[in-house]
């Protein structure tokens, strides 16, 4: 308690200094009314000073990182492939279009060849990008949302809520996540939404832990105390005051989470636990696996698509980390 009193006194004295300098500045229109609702100083301290000044620098660092730029370019290509797949290959990628076992380059109409059922491999890879990105992005969004809610509640409120939620997080972090994923998908039927939700279920604990740590650090800062003393509600303090300042590490994590979700989805569909009606990179590898002695390109090509997409996301994550983290190491 002593430390908070100090901090409050500190904030007060700074306020006094500001007031002392006040007359020189032109009087603000807000200053006339009782500033309880607007709290100009608290707002500017929390929102204006830190993120905007650093945002430009972080963007510059990120843009001058060649690895991260490679990642961005490749990921845009994948997104483009996913968007253009129905235009370039309007036919169902699961339908037969040519003689089976055409090797890549054998027939210019099918640049990446055909599989054992005469399905076009290139069409499969382009359509596969759709499901991979869908699962990766939606699962990450769900995992982030739930993880932030749990982590914010635990870190902000502390006490028994924190104890309880930390136990919950610990349980989910102890269970081997891929085994849990397999169990969940096997129990519910393997469809794209089920796979997505199941991946979100195993990824939220990481986010929750990270958010909790950030919230615990930030809730002790002056601007949060100021917001609290102005009578802001818990929800407003959590989402408007603390969360924006806790975002940088979460942004870094989210790009790695998308990569992990794509890897998980491909491993699931490789094992035959993917949506059987949708072509995905993992299921293409699973189907090509039996023919690995004679037609190994059926396994290699979709795998390369996974590797480069995931690599692109990891490179972006690395670049974001380099760009956003210095500020954090300073502040802690």
């Amino acid at each position: 308690m002593a430390s908070t009193d100090f901090a409050a006194g500190d904030a007060r004295s700074r306020r006094l200094h500001a007031d002392a300098r006040g007359p020189a500045a032109p009087p603000e229109p807000e200053a006339k009314s009782w500033s309880n609702l607007h709290a100009p100083d608290a707002r500017s301290a929390s929102a204006a000073s830190v993120p905007i000044a650093v945002g430009g620098r972080a963007l510059k660092v990120f843009l001058s990182n060649p690895n991260a730029m490679f990642g961005v370019v490749f990921l845009s290509l994948v997104v483009l492939a996913a968007l253009l797949a129905p235009v370039l290959y309007p036919a169902d990628p699961l339908s037969m279009v040519a003689r089976p076992f055409l090797w890549p380059g054998q027939n210019p109409a099918f640049p990446l060849g055909t599989d054992s059922m005469g399905r076009d491999v290139l069409s499969g890879i382009l359509h596969g990008a759709r499901i991979s990105l869908f699962v990766g992005l939606v699962a990450t969004a769900l995992g982030l949302g739930f993880g932030i809610l749990v982590g914010a509640a635990a870190g902000y409120f502390g006490g028994w809520i924190d104890d309880l939620l930390v136990r919950l997080i610990e349980i989910f972090q102890t269970i081997p996540s891929f085994v849990l994923l397999v169990v969940m998908v096997a129990i519910a039927q393997p469809t794209a939404p089920v796979v997505t939700v199941a991946i979100a279920v195993i990824t939220w604990p990481t986010v929750a832990r990270l958010t909790r740590a950030e919230f615990r650090a930030i809730r002790e800062k002056d601007f949060v105390m100021a917001a609290r003393s102005l009578g802001y509600g818990h929800a407003r303090i959590i989402f408007r005051e603390i969360l924006p300042n806790a975002l940088p590490p979460l942004i870094v994590t989210s790009s790695v989470m998308v990569a992990t979700a794509i890897l998980m989805e491909s491993a699931l569909s490789f094992m035959g636990l993917g949506d059987p009606n949708v072509v995905s990179w993992g299921s293409m590898i699973g189907a090509g696996r039996e023919l690995i002695r004679t037609a190994w390109y059926l396994t290699a090509l979709p795998g390369l698509a996974i590797v480069f997409t995931v690599l692109a996301l990891n490179l972006i994550g690395d670049g974001l980390n380099d760009a956003l983290n210095p500020r954090f190491s300073q502040e802690r």
Partner: protein, 328 residues
């Protein structure tokens, strides 16, 4: 404080922390089992080929499946307390025995993969530290990121294409030559040949993690005073790197290695299906294909316990090795 009290204290703290976690996992397991479509009576009726409504009801009554949920939960806990995980009609044996048969294979695979990952990761990480900021460091960091991005099952298949199909050096699956009674060194070599590819596919992802961790930890240790002292008293750089920097950088790496046991188990599920390695992961795959949920949830429960044990072991190891740990 002596080493023994320190380890004892850590043991007590870890055990107290583990109890609610274990309980939560058991409850979660029970409810997942309840969610699974069909119950034991359905499975048995399916195996028998036919069943009337009356026999189904009789079966349910006999196995207590018509009891209220809480009574069933109590029965489940009661059975667990007697180390009974249920019975698998498909394999015709108790689930605990089934898992016991397969567990050593997985543990061996994981241990070898972990050892390979740590050795390679330390080597790569040390190289990156020595060349920090220069070209070899940047190239190795991109390579480690590449390792980090490769799905284990895919690199497994690619290794099979290269080393089994094209070069014919190594076997593509199984855990030993069938019908061979090789003993001694020849037998060991035979086993090792079957181990190389699965262990490598499983290890690759973790090589990347350990390489980056080692680099970060070593760079941090390098700025410590005692490293400067070592340099000032004229020790050769190689000895400083190995004896003073690497050794102190090992602490965060062992922590992570303990945390990776769960992830490795998950990776083993996929890698074992690729190499038809007779382990827990392969059993899980077969259980999924046969929709044998008793086996699947038994595996989930046991692997979770394995993770708890691994984490506790790492904690104890730290308390033993590092005098600063027990003080907290």
């Amino acid at each position: 404080m002596s080493t023994l009290t320190r380890v004892g204290r850590t043991f007590r703290r870890t055990a107290i922390q583990a109890v609610p976690t274990v309980f939560g996992i058991v409850i979660l397991n029970f409810f997942l089992l309840q969610l699974a479509p069909g119950d034991a009576a359905d499975v048995m009726a399916g195996e028998a080929g036919s069943a009337t409504v009356e026999t189904m009801a009789a079966l349910r009554q006999r196995f207590g499946l018509d009891n209220p949920l809480l009574v069933q939960l109590f029965n489940y806990l009661y059975n667990l307390a007697h180390f009974s995980l249920g019975f698998s009609p498909r394999y015709g044996m108790p689930v605990a025995d089934l898992i016991g048969q397969r567990l050593p294979g997985t543990l061996l695979l994981m241990a070898v993969a972990l050892a390979v990952a740590i050795v390679l990761g330390l080597a790569l990480g040390s190289l990156m530290t020595v060349f920090a900021g220069r070209l070899p460091d940047r190239m190795l960091s991109v390579i480690s990121l590449l390792f980090y991005s490769i799905p284990g099952f895919w690199i497994g298949l690619m290794l099979i294409v290269l080393f089994s199909v094209k070069l014919g050096w190594l076997p593509s699956g199984g855990s030993g030559t069938i019908g061979s009674n090789l003993t001694g060194l020849a037998g060991l070599w035979d086993k090792a040949r079957y181990m190389i590819l699965p262990a490598l596919s499983l290890a690759l992802f973790y090589v990347a993690i350990y390489a980056r961790l080692t680099r970060a930890a070593m760079l941090e240790v390098q700025s410590q005073d005692y490293v400067r002292t070592a340099a000032a008293k004229g020790l050769p750089p190689a000895i400083i790197t190995i004896r003073h920097v690497l050794r102190n950088a090992l602490i965060p790496i062992t922590t992570m290695a303990g945390m990776h046991v769960g992830g490795m188990l998950g990776g083993a599920v996929v890698v074992e299906t690729v190499y038809s390695w007779p382990g827990l992961g392969r059993l899980a795959f077969e259980a999924v294909m046969g929709r044998d949920f008793t086996v699947l949830l038994g595996i989930l429960l046991l692997s979770s316990l394995l993770v708890i044990v691994a984490n506790a072991t790492v904690d104890l190891l730290h308390a033993w090795l590092d005098p600063r740990v027990g003080v907290r």
